[in-house]
């Protein structure tokens, strides 16, 4: 399920792109129309009227040093500049892209050879190469075009190769081979269409450049030769006259400026359309804290007993263009001192977003907290200023993330990433900070702790990185650690070690754990109580034992039944048919009804409440507790 990006941002960009495109089209049309427009002969010299300023009768933009009409020369010159720019770009694109794709696809030594050659070409500042080529071939527009083309081939080759190399490693190239496609077919049928956006983006960024560069060569006298003229050579002619007749040089330059601006605007717009990241709405960088709707802040009451973490009625949504994805709806739970809570669910259940919402780390845009309260130790967090949150984050409430490779800054050493947290919350510096960091690494059983202080994340294995992440979370002796699928990315033997570590920390430090996972086995090892989530809602709560022995909600029951277990291979696996609902278009009744084997009419009629069945036990099902199930 993918959502198109926010209409607003793209439209704004598109408007400027449209303006740019309009400018370009206008200029192109005018220059194309040159033969039919009532223009003076661009080559007709008349020394009697030389260097007339703009506004002279019969010569709208004045005349140059040979008495030729500037307006007419301008329009004819633009034709030349445009044509040369486009042809040069196209030529460089075709040759460069071909080289790039072939280098990426075929054997390594060919790739190395081509790329070393490209590197060597790029070792020359482009202008030198262009000058050299023009020197060999002699001045002239065609030669300038050739020179500029050749000089830009490496740029295309590099870009396209970069993109293609990433794709070649993708498995659909292997899939194509398995389907029997020949190399040529794969190259042109599979790779090329996927590389095309990069090629087009590169073209759009270089057309403007090409026009500038050819104009430059002409300016130096190496491009268009008289009587042929392009915008650059007109500028060159006017250079010496700058003091007495500035209009001869400034006007052509202005046209170049406007043309290239138009092209670049269009190119930017094109890039926005083609760039997949922009398409899926991930434009803006996230703010330091999640935005909170006014209504949410107003309705809050700081609740909860001292030292407890109490979440009440929390709702978080993502605004993606016209669609609003209701990722978390009306979630309430609390974690008392000494307790460990598990949040269980599959992807899309809202478990991670709930956890992030506690510390307001949900990216805004597009996320927003739309309702509810999060109270810690009696203090209300939703609607609190950023400084309050910052004092709490990493201090009283800490996070451990799922993917240790991406969760750690690759450019800072492990030690630095621990120490900066110590410094921020405890003011520790220098030797004291180092000492504490070593203690922390020891506490998570990283061998050789002192040496590890200066290692970088990429030098550690996955398990070690996760331990390091845990050490960071422990830095300031937090009351609560929220761990978002911390072992999902790890091997099962390493997972066992990390789970043991968490348990040890729980017992030794009285740590409260909020542990998120899809794996009931994992949760049962570290948690006392479990909250099951589905499609953004809590559908069941209970102790680990209760949920395992007598699940109340059909989803919980079926979820546990569809996980293969060792020693139970003979039992048939009961899968859950269908898919979870679209969080932007939720049904009015029970969200699980379409996949449920117990669904009756009442289930679909109206929203189902979370019913409290007994102490600490609840289920969002009208049929929960019925005996014959």
């Amino acid at each position: 399920m993918r959502y198109r990006s926010s209409g607003l941002a793209r439209f704004a960009r598109n408007r400027t792109a449209a303006v740019g495109l309009g400018m370009v089209i206008l200029i192109v049309l005018i220059s194309l129309a040159a033969p039919i427009l009532p223009l003076a002969n661009p080559n007709a010299t008349d020394l009697a009227i030389r260097l007339k300023p703009p506004g002279t009768a019969g010569h709208l933009l004045g005349t140059d040093q040979l008495g030729r009409d500037i307006l007419s020369r301008l329009i004819w010159g633009t034709r030349v500049s445009l044509a040369v720019g486009l042809v040069a770009t196209f030529a460089a694109a075709v040759v460069g892209s071909l080289i790039g794709i072939i280098a990426a696809y075929y054997s390594r030594w060919l790739d190395n050879l081509l790329m070393r050659g490209i590197d060597m070409l790029m070792a020359f500042p482009y202008i030198l190469l262009a000058l050299a080529i023009v020197a060999i071939l002699g001045p002239g527009l065609l030669n300038a075009l050739l020179a500029i083309s050749v000089v830009n081939i490496p740029f295309f080759a590099r870009n396209v190769r970069g993109a293609a190399v990433g794709l070649v490693r993708l498995e659909y190239v292997d899939t194509a081979r398995l389907s029997g496609l020949s190399n040529a077919r794969i190259l042109f049928g599979e790779l090329l269409p996927n590389v095309l956006p990069v090629i087009m983006i590169t073209i759009s960024t270089t057309v403007g450049w090409m026009i500038l560069e050819t104009a430059g060569l002409s300016f130096l006298g190496l491009g268009a030769q008289p009587p042929q003229a392009d915008l650059g050579s007109m500028l060159g002619d006017g250079r010496d006259l700058i003091l007495i007749a500035p209009h001869v040089a400034t006007i052509p330059g202005l046209v170049i400026l406007v043309l290239v601006i138009g092209i670049n605007l269009t190119g930017d717009g094109l890039r926005d359309v083609l760039d997949p990241q922009l398409k899926s709405g991930a434009l803006a960088s996230p703010a330091p804290m999640t935005a909170v709707d006014h209504t949410a802040a107003a309705a809050n009451r700081a609740a909860g007993t001292a030292g407890a973490l109490a979440v009440s009625g929390l709702s978080t949504s993502f605004v993606l263009g016209p669609a609003t994805v209701r990722a978390v709806q009306n979630v309430s739970f609390s974690v008392a001192p000494g307790e460990s809570l598990g949040v269980m669910g599959e992807s899309g259940s809202g478990k991670s977003v709930t956890a992030l919402s506690v510390l307001q780390l949900v990216p805004t845009p597009p996320g927003r907290i739309t309702a509810g309260s999060v109270a810690y130790d009696g203090q209300e967090l939703v609607g609190a200023p950023l400084s309050t949150l910052q004092n709490l984050r990493g201090n009283r409430i800490a996070f451990v993330f799922q993917n240790p490779m991406t969760a750690l800054n690759p450019l800072l050493s492990v030690g630095e990433q621990i120490v900066e947290s110590l410094r921020r919350h405890q003011g520790l510096r220098g030797r004291a900070a180092r000492q504490k960091a070593i203690e922390l690494l020891d506490a998570v059983h990283i061998p050789d702790a002192e040496a590890r202080l200066t290692t970088y994340p990429h030098e550690l294995s996955g398990g070690m990185r996760q331990r390091a992440g845990t050490a960071i979370a422990l830095s300031n002796d937090p009351d609560v650690i929220i761990a978002d699928e911390p072992t999902t990315a790890l091997d099962v033997t390493i997972q066992a070690q990390i789970l043991r570590l968490f348990n040890e920390l729980r017992v030794k430090r009285g740590l409260r754990l909020v542990f998120i996972s899809h794996d009931f086995g994992v949760l049962s090892e570290v948690c006392d109580r479990i909250v099951v989530m589905y499609a953004g809602q809590i559908v069941e709560t209970g102790s680990v034992k209760e949920i395992y022995e007598s699940p109340l909600h059909p989803y919980t029951r079926r979820l546990m039944a569809c996980v293969p277990m060792i020693g139970r291979a003979e039992e048939p696996l009961t899968a859950i048919p269908g898919l979870p609902p679209d969080l932007a278009q939720l049904p009015s009744g029970c969200y699980f009804a379409d996949r449920c084997d117990l669904a009756i009419e009442r289930c679909r009629a109206a929203p189902i409440e979370l019913r409290t069945m007994s102490q600490g036990r609840s289920a969002r099902c009208v049929r929960a507790g019925e005996t014959a199930v």
């Binding site: 498995e171 017992v507 794996d519 009931f520 090892e525 696996l573």
Partner: protein
């Protein structure tokens, strides 16, 4: 080479050279070392191991996507490591592959129809009319609606994409399908759907699977024979019953006990400490020795061969005839 063996792997090795081509000796990663096993027709084989054990590399070697550095692979008696490109294409009618990540294995710019037709056209040379029929057959086999044929992969969920991948693999009616972690990237409830689908297909079409996974429970369910890999080596081989009821290699025992068992408020036991060494820096003796609870002096010096035990059970351990479970450590809590 036994006569009921469909696939025979003989001492296959694969080394990857890291570092620049020009400057020769970079690091050498021994992804697969001297591996031999056999796959019988009708008996699906599961290969289990953790990350870095070489199972994915092995899978790709078997299907011909990567050439081995040493050793041979015989499919129905023919050495497929040295075949010509044309012969390889013909072999793709018999051996196919399903990838782990459904999204990266399907060209985002091709419709489902184009993706499924490709093997029909290029491997089977099927004409248009027959293709249309076959496409509908395939969609039905994997429980996808025929209207989906003209949609693009990104319009589907992960589970549906995996069905497309499976349909593509089935298109040419292969007798053997190699699946590389086909359900690991999917949600639990979808995993079950795909596993059931695979079970049904195996029964109805008579396809044999070579099933790669890190998940022991899945492999136990899907495969009759199981091979356990560690650091590029085959450390144990046997039937489902043998492996799960009486494992002979310490690593296998450790692996099974590391899987968290739900339902009991369990004490977390750690069956093994430490982490696997880097595959470019293998110890001289048994690869598992540094972490093994039964290791003795000779284990570090001599690498045990895959020793035979009753009824085709094999294990690469000196103590395979007297296996003992790992000591359980009570952890806090």
């Amino acid at each position: 080479m036994s006569d009921s063996a469909v696939l025979e792997v003989r001492k296959v090795s694969k080394d990857f050279r890291r570092g620049s081509l020009l400057f020769g000796a970079g690091n050498v990663v021994h992804a697969v070392t001297d591996l031999s096993l056999q796959l019988r027709r009708g008996d699906s084989l599961g290969i289990v191991g953790e990350s870095g054990c070489g199972k994915s590399t092995l899978a790709r070697i078997l299907v011909g996507l990567i050439p081995p550095t040493g050793g041979q692979v015989f499919f129905e008696g023919e050495d497929v490591t040295i075949v010509s490109r044309r012969r390889r294409k013909e072999l793709y009618r018999k051996i196919q592959f399903v990838f782990q990540d459904p999204l990266s294995s399907l060209n985002p710019r091709k419709t489902v129809r184009q993706l499924l037709e490709a093997p029909l056209v290029h491997l089977l040379g099927m004409e248009r009319e027959r293709r249309k029929e076959r496409l509908l057959e395939l969609m039905e086999t994997v429980n996808l609606r025929p209207e989906s044929l003209d949609r693009y992969p990104h319009e589907f969920s992960g589970g549906q994409n995996q069905r497309i991948g499976i349909a593509r693999a089935l298109a040419a009616e292969p007798s053997l399908i190699v699946l590389d972690e086909p359900v690991s990237a999917l949600d639990v409830s979808i995993q079950a759907q795909i596993l059931k689908l695979l079970e049904n297909l195996s029964r109805s079409l008579g396809v044999t699977y070579l099933f790669i996974s890190h998940d022991l429970a899945v492999v136990e369910r899907m495969c009759e024979q199981i091979a356990v890999m560690y650091l590029g080596n085959l450390v144990e081989f046997g039937t489902r019953a043998q492996i799960f009821a009486s494992p002979r290699h310490p690593y296998t025992s450790v692996l099974m006990r590391s899987v968290p068992a739900p339902g009991t408020r369990a004490v977390t036991r750690v069956a093994v400490h430490g982490e696997p060494p880097s595959p470019s820096n293998l110890p001289p003796g048994c690869p598992f020795e540094p972490r093994c609870y039964r290791a003795e002096a000779k284990c570090a010096e001599v690498k045990p061969d895959l020793l035979p035990y009753p009824e085709g059970h094999r294990a690469a351990c000196f103590f395979g005839d007297d296996p003992q479970p790992p000591p359980m450590e009570e952890a806090a809590g």
